[in-house]
Amino acid sequence: MPDFKVEIRARLAELRLSPVREAEIVEELSQHLEEEYERALTSGSSEDEARQRVLEQIAASDLLHRELKQLERRVSQEPVAPGAESKTNLFGDLTQDIRYALRVLAKNPAFTFIAVIALALGIGANSAIFSVVDAVLLRPLPFKHPEQLAMVWENAAHMGFPRNTPSPANFLDWRKQTQSFTGMAAMAERSFNLTGVGEPERLEGRRVSANLFELLGVPALLGRTFGPDDDRPGTHVVLLSYSLWQRRFGSDPAVIGRALTLNGESYTVVGVMPQLTQLPGYENVNDQLWVPIAFASEEAAQRGNHFLEVIARRKPGVTLKQAQAEMETISARLAQQYPDYNTRIGAVVVPLHEQVVGDIKPSAPCFARRSWFCPPHRVRKCCQSAARTRCCSAKRDFGAPGTRRQSVPPRPTVSDGKRITRDVWRWIRFAAGILRAART
C-alpha cells in the first residue's frame, strides 16, 4: 500500500495548520485514498495505475489547498525562544487552560480527589473564618453610635497592667468629675445559682450600672431596662438574656414580674434583652442575666479592690484625645488625693471597636496570607507540574495548538504533598482557633 500521507501532507504544508488539525486531515484523507486504491486494484488496475489514479485526485490541481485555505485557521509556527514572551490570546488561552485542566484531572483521579478535598477544606475554612471576620470586624457593633463608645481602664503600666480594672471608688470619682462623657457605667462579673425553676443551674452574669443599657442605646425586648431607682442596695431586680428567656422560660412573655431565686435571694424579672446583646468587657463573657451593680457604702469606698469594667460614651464633638487628656488630669488629681492607692495610676480610654477586635485584628493579614493565598497556589503549582510532566511530551508529539512556553515547574514530589497536607491542617487549626476565640 503506497503511503499517501506524505503526498497529502505536502499539499497541506503551506496552510500552516495546527499540527493536531493537520494530523486529523491527513489521516482522514489518506484513508479515503487507500480505499480508492484498493477499489482500483479490485477493478483490475495495476498497482502503478491504481496509485496514479488515486493521486490524480489531489495532484491535479491546488483545489485541496484552495478549499482548505478558506476554512482552516492558521497558527503561528514560529518558535518561541525560552524566556521570551509569546503573543497571548486571553480567551483562547483560557479555553485551552480549562480543557487542559479537565484532561489532567480526569487522568489523575487520586490527585483530583486530594485536590478537591484540599480545596473543599480550604473553601470551608475560609467561609467559616470570613463569617467570623464579618461578624467581628466588618459589621458595626450593635449599639447606638458605637463610634462614641469607649472602655476606660486604669493605667498601671508601671506594674505591668496598662489596662487594669478600676476600683469602685475611682470609678465613682471619674463619673463625678468627667466632662468629656455623657455617661459612664460600670460592670462586674458575677455568677448566679438559679433555683426554684426546674433543674438548678449556675448562670454567668454581670452586675451593671443602672444607666448601662441606656448608655449603649439598647432597649429591652420585653419589659424595661434598669432605672435609677434600681441602682440601690437591697433592690433585687433582674434582666434576662434572650437565650436564657428562650431556654429556661420557653419565650414566655409572662415572665416579666415573675420572681426568681438567685443565690438564695428573690429577684423580680423586669425585662428581657434582645437577641445577640452581648456586653463588651475584659473577657468576652456570654452573659445570661444582669442585675444592678448597687454599690454598698463599704464597696463604694474601696480603692484597692480593682474588679470593674467601665464603659463610657463621649459627648458629641469631644475627641478621643481630649477625653484621654481629661481622664489623665482626673487620675493625677486622684493620685494626689489618694497617694496610697493611686500613685502612678493613670487612665486609658480605648475605643470600643478597638477593644472588641483588638485581639483579632493582628491576625487578619496572617489569615489572608496563610489561609487564602498559599494553599491554592500550592495546589495550582502541583497541578501544573503533574500535568506538564505527563502531557508535555504528548503535546510536543502532536503539536498542541498554541502551545505556550512557560517555565515548567518541577514534577510534584512527596514534599509537595506533605506541604499541601500541612497547609490543610493549618487551615483547620487556624479556623478552629478563630471560631473558639469568637465563641468565648
Binding site: 484513508q31 479515503h32 480508492e36 485526485q57 489531489i58 491535479a60 483545489l63 482548505l68
Partner: protein, 119 residues
C-alpha cells in the same frame, strides 16, 4: 464547489455546485457515515453521474461542520481502524428541511418554464 463527472450525460458544474450541500445533508439524515461512504453513495445513487473527489468532498464536509450542520467524530469499531463519522445536527436537520423545500420549488418552477415535465 468543484466536481468531477464520470458518466454521460454530464450535469452542469454550476447546477450541481448548488446542490452539493443538500446531497450530503440528505445522506446523513438517517445515520452517521464516514467520508468515503458518503462519496460512494453519491456516486452510486447518481449512477455514476456525480462523483466527488477527495479535494472537493472533504473541504465541503469541513465547511458543513464549521457551520454546525454536521458533526464529525472519530469512532473506532472492533477490528477496524478508527474513522471519522459525520452525523446531522439539529441545526443541520432544519437546514436540510428548508433546502429540500427550496429545491423542490426551484425544480417545479424550472419544469414549468422549460416544459420538461410535459415533454
Amino acid at each position: 464547489m468543484a466536481m468531477q463527472y464520470m458518466a454521460s450525460p454530464v450535469p452542469d458544474r454550476e447546477l450541481k455546485k448548488g446542490s452539493a450541500e443538500l446531497m450530503i445533508l440528505s445522506l446523513l439524515e438517517d445515520r452517521a457515515r464516514h467520508g468515503y461512504e458518503i462519496g460512494q453513495l453519491i456516486e452510486l445513487r447518481s449512477r455514476g453521474a456525480i462523483r466527488f473527489n477527495v479535494a472537493s468532498l472533504y473541504p465541503l464536509l469541513y465547511r458543513l461542520e464549521k457551520r454546525n450542520w454536521i458533526r464529525g467524530r472519530w469512532i473506532e469499531k472492533a477490528g477496524q481502524r478508527r474513522r471519522r463519522y459525520y452525523r446531522l445536527t439539529a441545526s443541520g436537520k432544519n437546514v436540510l428541511s428548508k433546502q429540500r423545500a427550496g429545491w423542490r420549488e426551484f425544480v417545479e418552477a424550472i419544469n414549468l418554464i422549460t416544459g420538461i415535465q410535459h415533454a
